[in-house]
Symmetry: C2
């Protein structure tokens, strides 16, 4: 595999699997590419909420807007440049408020494999 560059302009978002909120993901690197990590971008429409049981270690970096993450130890908020680290096995609720939010994420191992998600791509 070679060194590669990605940006939001390169991606097409799909609805995040297993729920019907307006929350979208777009992998740019995943199990199809042979490496150990999945890399992607996420998009949360305003006033959305998803419950997630972490099947993988998930590093989420907020690029635009703000997100609220409810954890067993309280609620964390993150804005541009801030990182939420969600270890495997944790359960969280990720929420947007009045503003859309855009994220980048890295998971180890591949979240689609761990969650048994199949995609068209």
């Amino acid at each position: 595999m070679i060194v590669q560059k990605f940006g939001l302009a390169d991606v097409s978002f799909e609805r995040s699997p297993g729920q019907d909120a307006d929350v979208f993901t777009a992998n740019v690197i995943d199990q199809r590419h042979g490496g150990p990590v999945t890399i992607g971008y996420g998009r949360y429409a305003p006033n959305q909420s998803i419950d997630v049981k972490l099947a993988v270690d998930d590093v989420m970096l907020v690029l635009e807007g703000k997100l609220w993450v409810d954890t067993k130890a309280g609620t964390l908020t993150a804005g541009p440049g801030e990182i939420i680290y969600m270890p495997k096995g944790e359960t969280v609720t990720i929420r947007s408020q009045a503003q859309e939010a855009v994220t980048a994420y890295v998971t180890y191992p591949h979240w689609q494999v761990a969650e048994g998600v199949s995609t068209a791509s």
Copy 2:
């Protein structure tokens, strides 16, 4: 391990090991925490250049400024919100120009372990 939030305000940068350029790293999660990935922030002063042989898979996201990454297949540039994925085994030169650059990174596995770096922290 619990869900945690990090930002640039939380970190203290150290000179990137094995070179004397004004390039600094600050791990927020690493081998000390028991998970599989290292997470951190990087800072490149203007007009710096470092040569890196990737001992791990390294995902670098540019938060501020712009970076140039010379690879065997050409030069990539990345600005805010853009990601450079550097697979293990590749050799790159990462350069800043007139402007300072700030990055976030995620590595699998832990880069300090793979590079045999010991830190004071």
